[in-house]
């Protein structure tokens, strides 16, 4: 089954490589991986989706903890959480088709963010299912280009961010200005 991990890591050069290399090394296939800043400076958060069983998920969690720049791992698969994917979809839309596409965009509560004589760019946010479904209904009109962020997820409720536990400032080697969040996945 799909497991979703929230992984808090130091924002340092090469950290994304360490995480993705771990998955490769241990033969886990990443379904999606997103990285971004958190509310704490110096800490990035990854949302990683992996297809594995319960034991695999536990081992993966343990392996992630063994990475020095990894601060905290939460398997939020079974905790109530919100997960979202964002997509930009460029669709061929001229003449009559354009009206149909715009109606579909309304139904899906998506937005048109770029208009050109031959095409439209649609922005949509939602669960992966919803986006899959929108892509399917747009396909007959001609999907020219599609980009998705992959899943980001957050547990519901008011629990404090888990990485906010006391820990002195990191003092590891190179404080170069690299930033995992700017790396491509």
């Amino acid at each position: 089954m799909l497991h979703t991990f929230a992984v808090y890591v130091d924002n340092k050069p090469g950290v994304l490589n360490r995480v993705s290399s771990l998955f490769r090394r241990r033969a886990f296939n990443i379904e999606s991986l997103t990285v971004g800043h958190t509310e704490t400076p110096g800490i990035s958060r990854m949302t990683v989706v992996v297809d594995t069983d319960e034991y695999g998920a536990r081992r993966l969690e343990a392996h992630l903890y063994k990475l020095v720049p990894c601060r905290r791992v939460d398997n939020i698969t079974s905790t109530p959480s919100i997960s979202r994917d964002l997509a930009l979809i460029k669709v061929a839309a001229t003449g009559e088709a354009r009206t149909h596409v715009m109606q579909l965009v309304d139904v899906y509560r998506a937005r048109i963010v770029d208009v050109s004589p031959e095409s439209l760019v649609i922005e949509t946010t939602g669960t992966e299912d919803k986006i899959d479904s929108l892509v399917e209904v747009l396909r007959p009109y001609g999907v020219i280009e599609l980009v998705r962020t992959g899943r980001v997820a957050m547990a519901r409720g008011t629990l404090p961010p888990p990485h906010a536990r006391p820990r002195p400032a990191a003092t590891t080697a190179s404080e170069v200005s690299g930033d995992v969040s700017s790396c491509s996945v």
Binding site: K66, V68, A170
Partner: protein, 568 residues
């Protein structure tokens, strides 16, 4: 006062308690070598950087202290890869320092530039690329902390030439590492101590499986106390040898592919396995589907990622073994298990008759005899460093180790060429110990240039070559599983005695069993390096053997009672 990055490097090593480093200089590490002369650290010049890493590894295994290897960028760094992977697989704490081209040149394919942090990423616990002098001390402190904490392992610190040359103030306290205590709380799926205690109390046929972790956590006494209090027999892994005295009546011996038949049989019949600091490697389990099917299983390991990896267990505890056992021991009820112990004794059956030790001298020289003589003459007190292959298994079977850290061997990675350099490391670490290298003629030829290191450092190391003219373990597999098609396993070698002589090392050649004792005694008396070339039976095999992937109890046994040999 400002120090250069190179000075800070040595200052850090001194402050971390390092007294010896193993290395090989080169362009990108020159500033560090230039600064070295002013620090109280012995540098052992190796003949190949792989040797430096094995030496650091042997040093670490002999003492538990962090071993240090140093090399230049590019080929110097890549030559370390095998040694780093070896240390990773066997949880050996080493810190490898490599020079790197100047930070401005990184990524430009400069002379002797290689991405060693990228290359070693999956075979180190962690690694650092240091590009400024101010980062040297924090990286070094953290490297030592990472290498020696938790499950130990190798750490690499790659320092650019400009970071070595640049200068800054050294603030040692500010460089203190701030590592997350990753395992300070239970995670879902963690086992409960009470469950383990209950399983032990309820078991009728329990067995302890003790591994390397028993020594790494210093839990040798606690493991033994658990065994004695609850009368639980112990089987050890290859790297667990020495953790429990071989002479202890509850110590059954080694398990696994070349373990004793009755040990593997006991594992298959047990109703409880208590796995302590071991990782259910495929070489100890055989076929997982039929492995210990009747047994409940408790697994204690400091590395949570090892739990439920190969074998599903009933109670999985991620903790330092010594701390875990100290918590258990007051709760263990003393008991007796005469029936189970007598049954295991009965499992031995005719093993003693089959044992090659008990066969009359038929004129052939068997490796097992050599090892047995070595054990007897050194009174089991030597530090024995082995290579990988048949001789390694014979050593494990016939040299009875009673003290921890007296068998140093490459287990997980199975690195041929490990023995000689690792023995140099062990001898530097323990100058008063009697150190023996037990090595095959194949593996010896992989790293034999380190003989020059032995001589240059004036080390009293004795080398016992088990020379059968084959890559013996591979030949054995070809004999058993490839219908004796000996593809590429016959191997020639130099006249090892003459070779040793060329290096200035005393040497003899032994071809008959009766000559072995005298040769070993002469080497021991010499008080400087000596080499004995034991030209043993060529097509002898290691018995018993569980074929790879076969059921643990289905072992190939030594043909009994007559040993067939090539000459017969």
């Amino acid at each position: 006062m400002k120090l250069t990055g190179a000075q800070i490097l040595w200052e850090s090593l001194v402050r971390e308690g390092v007294t010896d480093v193993f290395g090989y200089p080169g362009g990108a590490i020159l500033p560090a070598y230039d600064a070295m002369r002013h620090y109280p650290i012995r540098h052992i010049l190796v003949r190949h950087e792989q040797g430096a890493t094995h030496m650091a590894d042997g040093y670490a295994r002999a003492t538990g202290k962090v071993g240090v290897a140093i090399a230049t960028s590019g080929p110097g760094a890549t030559n370390m890869v095998t040694g780093i992977a070896t240390a990773m697989m066997d949880s050996s704490p080493i810190v490898c320092i490599t020079g790197q081209v100047g930070s401005k040149l990184i990524g430009s394919d400069a002379f002797q530039e290689t991405d060693i942090t990228g290359i070693t990423l999956p075979i180190t616990k962690h690694n650092y690329l240091v590009t400024a002098a101010a980062d040297v001390a924090p990286a070094m402190r953290e490297a030592f902390a990472v290498a020696s904490s938790g499950r130990p392992g190798p750490v690499l610190v790659d320092i650019t030439k400009d970071a070595q040359q640049g200068a800054c103030d050294l603030d040692w306290d500010a460089a203190k590492p701030a590592l997350t205590e990753a395992f300070d709380e239970a995670l879902p799926g963690d086992g409960d101590v009470s469950d383990a205690i209950e399983l032990i109390a309820a078991a009728e046929r329990p067995l302890i499986l003790a591994g390397h972790g028993a020594m790494l956590s210093g839990a040798e006494r606690q493991v033994l106390e658990l065994a004695e209090r609850a009368q639980i027999p112990i089987a050890v892994t290859l790297l667990g040898i020495g953790g429990i005295p071989a002479s202890h009546p509850l110590n059954l011996g080694m398990m696994g592919m070349h373990g004793e038949a009755w040990v593997n049989q006991a594992i298959q019949e047990a109703d409880l396995l208590i796995a302590l600091g071991m990782r259910f490697d495929d070489r100890v389990t055989g076929n997982l589907k039929t492995y210990a099917r009747t047994a409940k299983k408790i697994h204690v390991d400091i590395d949570r990622a090892e739990l439920n990896k190969n074998v599903r267990v009933d109670v999985a505890i991620a903790r330092d073994l010594r701390l875990a056992l100290e918590e258990w021991l007051p709760r263990i009820t003393p008991c007796h298990r005469p029936a189970w112990l007598a049954h295991i004794d009965a499992l031995k059956g005719d093993a003693a008759v089959r044992d090659i030790q008990n066969l009359p001298d038929d004129g052939h020289l068997y490796a097992a005899h050599v090892i047995n003589d070595l054990w007897r003459l050194t009174k089991g007190d030597a530090v024995v460093v082995t290579d990988v292959g048949q001789h390694q298994m014979w050593e494990a079977q016939y040299y009875k180790h009673n003290r921890p850290r007296t068998l140093i061997t490459s287990g997980g990675l199975g690195t041929m060429g490990f023995a000689l350099p690792a023995a140099i490391g062990a001898k530097i670490a323990c100058p008063d110990a009697e150190v023996w290298v037990v090595v095959g003629d194949g593996g010896f030829q992989m790293t034999m240039p380190e003989l020059a290191t032995v001589v240059q450092e004036n080390l009293d190391i004795n080398i016992c070559i088990i020379n059968n003219g084959y890559l013996g373990m591979v030949r054995q597999w070809q004999e058993f599983f490839y219908d004796k098609r000996y593809a590429a396993t016959p191997i020639t070698g130099p006249n090892f005695a003459k070779l040793a002589d060329a290096f200035g090392i005393a040497a003899t050649t032994v071809t008959r069993r009766a000559e072995g004792e005298g040769a070993v005694e002469a080497a021991r008396r010499l008080k400087r390096a000596a080499l004995i070339d034991f030209q043993v039976e060529q097509e002898d095999s290691v018995y018993p053997m569980v074929p790879a992937g076969a059921d643990l109890h289905k072992m190939i046994r030594r043909p009994s009672p007559i040993v067939e040999t090539a000459a017969d």
